[in-house]
Symmetry: D2
């Protein structure tokens, strides 16, 4: 039976799990097992499978289904599992959601369709209908850099009255937007507001947000959990100390080269150094070459986070 996220609203650090691959068309299940253990051991509060960090849209559908089932089996109900079902075709989203429900996932996450752009009213209608049909609760996902379409505050507000829509993950990076959501939902503690970019997780939580979907937690889950905890406790000194580590990771690991996918390349390269996977990305994305891998390794080993949490 899924965890009741309506009664127990989602909070904390919910890593967007990296999708580990043996080769372009094969999941690295051994690596995934190790990664899930690593995350659980780090104290994360949930797991988000097939988010953007999980390279969702790149993965062929049969592999997505395999991963959903595998992850749910590994987690085995210990923490909530959220499954990304973002798609351009509602039928495919529903199909993924059914796999998730059958596998024992606890909720699904969907960003706006990203080929044809929908207007605000069309988005509201789209998500409303999707939520009607889904076998699991839905978290909305605002990701304008990838979907072209923004989920306006007004759209989120209107959709929040749907009994099957439980929250929002905002990856816009826009603090005005996120703080606007915090204000709009100030009397709805049950509506979960999570922030995507880890660089703003602490400030989002300090201002009342419920947590973050921090990609870096794939490397150092405990760091992000500690930062989240410090923020919920209002321990500003500790927040400042840990935020330095988080920002150092972003500066050193996510910004090598000037690729749109520098974040993913750096994250997976670092994870490989940490014994988590082989650094491979799913096509059409490409991993760093050996020279960049070496650079990441050197940078990683110089990080305060590495020295503290590896």
């Amino acid at each position: 039976m899924p965890i009741d996220l309506k009664m127990n609203p989602l909070k904390g650090v919910i890593p967007p799990m990296a999708t580990l691959l043996s080769d372009a068309n094969t999941l690295d299940l051994q690596g995934t097992t190790k990664l899930i253990d690593h995350l659980m051991h780090g104290g994360v509060h949930g797991l988000f499978v097939l988010g953007t960090t999980g390279e969702c849209t790149n993965i062929a559908y049969p592999m997505r289904k395999e991963l959903i089932e595998f992850a749910c089996r590994q987690v085995a109900g210990r923490i909530p599992v959220l499954v990304g079902i973002t798609d351009t075709s509602p039928a495919e989203s529903l199909s993924l959601a059914r796999v998730a429900a059958d596998a024992g996932a606890d909720a699904v996450v969907a960003a706006p369709p990203y080929y044809f752009g929908l207007g605000e009213r069309e988005l509201i209608s789209y998500f409303g209908r999707l939520a009607d049909q889904l076998p699991l609760p839905l978290y909305l996902y605002n990701m304008p850099s990838h979907t072209k379409t923004s989920l306006t505050g007004a759209a989120v507000l209107e959709l929040s009255s749907h009994p099957n829509i439980l929250g929002l993950k905002d990856s816009s990076g826009n603090a005005v937007y996120f703080n606007g959501m915090l204000y709009a939902f100030k009397d709805r503690p049950d509506f979960t507001l999570l922030v995507g970019p880890e660089e703003m997780m602490a400030s989002a939580v300090l201002m009342g947000g419920h947590g973050g979907v921090s990609g870096g937690a794939n490397m150092f889950p405990r760091l992000y959990v500690d930062l989240y905890t410090a923020a919920t406790q209002g321990n500003l000194q500790e927040v400042a100390r840990l935020q330095q580590m988080v920002m150092e990771i972003a500066a050193e690991i996510y910004a090598l080269g000037s690729y749109g996918s520098s974040f993913l390349k750096g994250l997976k390269a670092s994870m490989a150094v940490l014994g988590l996977g082989n650094g491979r990305l799913s096509p059409p994305l490409e991993a760093f070459d050996a020279q960049n891998m070496k650079q990441i390794e050197n940078r990683l080993k110089g990080l305060k986070a590495y020295q503290t949490y590896a």
Copy 2:
């Protein structure tokens, strides 16, 4: 055996066939048969299945495969069939291409991946690798309004040396870009340059382009074929006369309401009036309501194109 598009470069009007649906999850095969007959009878020079006008990315994969097979069977080698395989996952693109090859299609068409944006070098590498693996020749597809990513002229030039890449369909609407391509390929008559928006098909052909992928040809194929022919013959008076009809269609049928999908809504509503399908769009897009349908009917019947070509 597929038509050899390398020896006989593609030219003319290649309609992006509308995907007709009985309901959200069922193809209207009877309607599709009628539509293909209608297009063939109108003298079109090829058929493009699962383009943007075909609502490609909205259609669940099993239906895409069914449509590819059905269309190829109906066309039966009389004109080239091109199949859209644009996807975020190369594995899914390849899977569609294999279905297309098995069904007897003649080529495939792919726009850049549209969730993660690729840089110029990454795009070149992506398309090069895709072309290596495809069982059919490839036409590149520039569609920045939907994919976020532009296929730069430099990228097209570099990719044009690949033996399996035969041309470009440009739907940017940007005449500077398209004329730049015409100039760059002035000594490569074998590299097909097609233009997407029908409003600029005639001028593109007058300047040396090889044809157009005109959505309106779903309604009035003969009109676009006549316009193409007039342009290839340099008959400017005839071009001017027919261009008026094409522009009247755009003004009256494609611009009702201010939806991102007004074009598709209006096209399918008009097709329904013409006895081609029921006006339905694939989710998440929605058809016009009854009132708008009526408006389109009235506008359609007032068109010069309707009076001449219906």
Copy 3:
């Protein structure tokens, strides 16, 4: 003699003063006097004349010069006066800066040129040369929504070594960017980092930022000063209480209608209700009509901030 902002780095709430007008071509000097008194009385830490909230680029040059001189005379050295010199023509920027220096202003503020977009290297060269020639220290101004061009973090870093560049005002709203700047300048407490949008001022200060250029301070300067103070003291309970007021202002006053300039229309309408100016905007912007003015009045009087600070 100007305040030495190099020795005493700027901090706190520096309102972007609204430019009050009697009619399209005449400053409301009486209103401006009252507004400056109001701001000083509210405890603000500086004054920013001719920022975006000051409708900078709309104001004819002679009026800009008159306003600079008038404001400096009124402030009379009690707090730092910063003057916006953003322009497309460096000669005009310099000319405004000279007026500012002669009038006794303490610094100038410049965003990237906003007609021709400059690349990163060109921007660095532009600002470097500008800073060389300016008679006053310069704060960089990141305002991509209005200038099209982003001041990248790398550009700010490189420019920060210029002895005449003292800080950055970031109005991108992007917390990832701003937190990246806080990290990059963690060992440069002398380099002032101010945030534009008031909705994120508190979180920016909690994370180590030096203050905000909060437009709403034109109405309720003390509120923003109190919020800034609470944030610098790490008083999270007080931050939460005041942040509610700030967000209520944003939700009620800045979002009426769906104009690009709803913020300015609402701000000036509210100021008029508060006895500060007549609500007029500088052409080509237009004030709210009587009905919207009335709506703003009603909303304003219902605000917690109004009840506490008016």
Copy 4:
């Protein structure tokens, strides 16, 4: 007395004259005299001073006024002189327009304000009011890449009923938009439709457009006049021959480096080689360095246009 452009609608090649500078703050009047002679001798049908190619917004106001007066004096009524008054401040636009009227210019040209973006209704109101107050007729100027704001077709249509608005210069590069305007104004031969980018001038004229504001005419005015004439005569063979030259210029001269201002850098470098000016750009733009200058010289001398028209 100005030329009556209402009775004699503007047609043909109206070059956007490059603004030649001796140094950053001084016009090169001798060069300008030579350039105007060169253009007149090339048979151009009008002159557009202070357009984007004229680096309008970079030039300090006193220099703009000097240039307007100087150009009008040199042209002395032989062909229409249009003056760019695009500005963020309507008062400054009006001030420039008065200078233009006093100097004997025939019309002014204005793009949307480009710092604060206006909505469609606001733009209509802005241009309507501007046209009411202007001492000269107005041509609208669509230039979204620089102003962020598009002049929608609907806005142009509504504004076209203003007795003082005589036409549109469209620099969007979007042939769908421009052809839409041609259709919308098919019964208004008095409303002038000019296209900006020279790469699409011929096709625009073939489809019924009235001419172009071709930057390359600063180098080779006769080429563009010949191309325009061939297009008006429907001489497609000649159009094709000359279009090759125009496209070669674009490929060789306007695309060196990857600057936003590569066009301007290359144009002015080439003009310098041709004895027109010194290659200098107005700050904040920078001229090519000596090495790039040399490259442009070599490329220029290899052009068919150079061999035919220099």
